[in-house]
Amino acid sequence: MSAEKLEKIFLSLTIFMLIVFLGALFWASFGLGMHLPDRVGQIDPTQVRTTAPFDNPGVFRVGENEYEVVALGFAWAFQPREIRVPAGAKVTFIATALDVIHGFHVEGTKVNFMMIPGQIARVEAVFARPGEHLLICHEYCGAGHHLMYGTVIVEEADWTPEDPDAPDEEPDTPPVAPDATPDGEVGA
């Protein structure tokens, strides 16, 4: 067989393969509903603590089997630090960052997005099986980046929070908060 002919076969197969892959990808996202974070809203990053819903971070039961997690990332902790939801529930994460860019990865799941100051992230997920996952900040956010983590506990499907209206108790300031002020200067 001539090289020209081989080449045509090889490149046709390449194009075919790429189309199949791309088709699979779009099927996964539009057919199976594996959604990426969309453009849902902006926020003044210096006013997050006084802007709803972020003035009250926590896990909220918002429907029969629906939960909302309002989450904040800041150097170097998540708030809430522990997230508890039942398996099979529809969980919506609504999150943003207070200072620099952070990451939000519930290890072992597809809940994986960036927390960018000024942008609101909204991601939906259903955790199929009970279990415990690390919540990892996977974007470099300063000297204490490797200290920034949390836990996501997926309870049995019939679990409900004791007091569905109250979010988990959370201290306002995390123990590892850096002694830093905006505009550069790190104190002491």
Partner: protein, 555 residues
């Protein structure tokens, strides 16, 4: 009719001042790599829970070291090598020298850039990693240094363009020699691509770090970074492709498949490299899903020219192997010249690149990207692309380039061969560690030794990372030994007197549509249109920018 990829096959002489300028760039490039490889060892061992970074003089944090590793490897090493190597290939192919004053200006700008950025990093005022996302803020000298490094690439682009235009004027109607066309195409692509990073660094980050403007827009700067940050991977890769297309066939004793197809490949990179940047921002809020899907589709498009490259390279190697007596379906591969370090390095580079390409396709599929984004998988992937495919190609090129530039014979051919095999095995082991860890949720860019969390199942992944990284380090040191010994002690006289170049099986046409392939002006215009389609809607939605984040120095 076999046609050489250069204008004049015989009689090319590189004057001494050019020789020295290019040698300076190549030495700068590998000096940067040396520092990067030493830091790399520290990082890989950190994943294996072994702390050697504490013995590095002046190293305050893991992240300071990681900033050094990213900046010197991904920016200094690659930029300096591309400038020297592609200036040479352009000069050689056209038989017309790139202006040597410009060459020295490029070198001087790079050195200044390295000193400025280096000052910030070494003094601990620039531990923001090589992606420098605001609102983490570095000292202004960090940004200014990076800006100068980018400016040096623009001077290179201008220098190559001027040489090409001069040649065209003297040779009206003649096809641009292939080796020059693809060298200039590389810089044409990067010139368009670097606009994003330049706007962000010069327009926003330098004034911000100097206190002239008080706030930054994190998502805008991040988007501008990745506008340049995806095409930069092709700016790293294309100099290696120049070698794979026009030199490797020569080393292997084969020939280049098609002149036109090669040009089409580089034109596709020029067109498609840039409008794909959102595939690095799949998981970012603030960007619509529609834009992300568009970039995903184009990303699959950019895979095509690399598959063409795979075909052409296999064609060249197979012919070479058969000419050396190879028979059958695979035996020709064994018959290749496995004693030539320049060839061996680049064949091994191609093998790792195959794995790099497959993992890259997985990254591009955003349904899978959500599982592995920003995990250790990602460095696992790109050490099989830039960290080995590109790096080993450049090392392979150095095995003839340094002798050519110094007129000294290569010292230690056996060591040179060993360096590549060890590095190759090392990168496979390290990537295996990082990739399996990443699938298991192990994050990248993280000081694992001191992390407040962890999983027992990450231990094996971390150990493989450390083991592979150590092998890479040993391979790298063997290479530097060969490099330095050749530079200082190589025997005068035995070195190659010309750049290796191949001939093409199908020559360039002088009539018809193929002639139009050479008009850079139209391809640049088409590339700009694609960029507007890919980024225009985002900018319309997003602007005006919201400068609301003050700077933070959390390091």
């Amino acid at each position: 009719m076999r046609t050489p990829v250069v204008a004049n096959p015989a009689g090319f002489v590189l004057p001494d001042s050019h020789r020295r300028a290019i040698l300076c760039m190549i030495v700068l490039s590998f000096a940067a790599l040396f520092i990067g490889v030493v830091n790399g060892l520290g990082q890989a061992l950190n994943y294996a829970r072994v702390d050697i970074l504490q013995y590095f003089p002046g190293m305050r944090t893991y992240y300071q070291g990681l900033t050094v590793h990213g900046v010197v490897n991904a920016i200094v090493f690659t930029f300096a090598f591309a400038a020297g190597f592609l200036s040479l290939t352009t000069s050689r192919a056209l038989g017309r020298l790139v202006n040597d004053k410009l060459l020295w200006t490029i070198f001087g700008t790079m050195v200044l850039g390295v000193l400025l950025a280096g000052y910030a990093i070494v003094t601990g005022q620039g531990s923001v990693l090589y992606t420098f996302y605001p609102p983490l803020m570095a000292h202004w000298s960090f940004y200014l240094g990076l800006a100068l490094l980018v400016v040096s690439t623009w001077i290179t682009a201008a220098a190559l363009m001027i040489t090409l235009l001069g040649w065209r004027k003297d040779n009206p109607g003649v096809r641009i020699p292939l080796m020059a066309f693809i060298s200039v195409a590389t810089y044409a692509m990067w010139t368009l691509a670097s606009v994003g990073i330049a706007v962000s660094v010069v327009g926003l980050l330098i004034p911000w770090s100097m206190g002239l403007i008080s706030h930054s827009d994190p998502l805008l700067s991040r988007t501008l970074f990745w506008y340049s940050g995806h095409p930069i991977v092709y700016f790293w890769l294309l100099p290696a492709y120049v070698s794979w297309y026009t030199m490797v066939p020569k080393h292997a004793g084969g020939l280049l498949f098609s002149d036109s197809l090669t040009r089409v490949v580089f034109i596709m990179f020029l067109l498609l490299s840039i409008p794909t940047g959102f595939h690095h921002q799949y998981t970012d809020p603030g960007i619509t899903v529609g834009m992300k899907a568009l970039h995903a589709g184009l990303t699959f498009g950019i895979f095509f020219p690399s598959m063409v490259t795979a075909f052409s390279v296999m064609f060249a190697l197979e012919i070479g192997g058969r000419r050396r007596g190879g028979t059958g379906l695979v035996n020709w591969f064994a018959k290749l010249d496995w004693g030539n370090p320049a060839l061996v390095a680049q064949i091994l580079a191609m093998l790792t690149f195959t794995l790099g390409g497959i993992t890259g396709l997985i990254n591009a599929s955003y349904s899978m990207n959500m599982s592995i984004h920003n995990t250790a998988w990602v460095p696992g992937h790109f050490h099989m692309t830039v960290g080995s495919a590109v790096t080993m190609s450049f090392m392979g090129i150095a095995f003839w380039l340094v002798p050519y530039l110094t007129r000294r014979d290569l010292v230690g051919r056996g060591l040179a061969l060993a360096s590549q095999w060890v590095y190759f095995i090392g990168v496979l082991v390290m990537a295996r560690g990082l990739i399996s860890g990443g699938v298991d949720g192990m994050p990248r860019r993280t000081n694992m030794l001191e992390a407040a969390y962890g999983k027992p199942s990450w231990e094996l992944a971390g150990m493989l990372t450390g083991l592979g990284g150590t092998l890479m380090f040993i391979g790298g040191m063997l290479f530097f030994a060969v490099f330095a010994a050749t530079l200082f002690f190589g025997r005068k006289g035995g070195a190659p007197t010309d750049v290796p170049f191949t001939v093409t099986a199908t020559p360039p046409e002088t009539r018809g549509w193929q002639v139009k392939l050479d008009s850079f002006r139209w391809w640049m215009l088409a590339a700009v249109v694609l960029i507007l389609i890919a980024y225009g809607p985002f900018l319309v939605q997003y602007l005006p920018a919201s400068f609301m984040s003050p700077g933070y120095r959390f390091y």
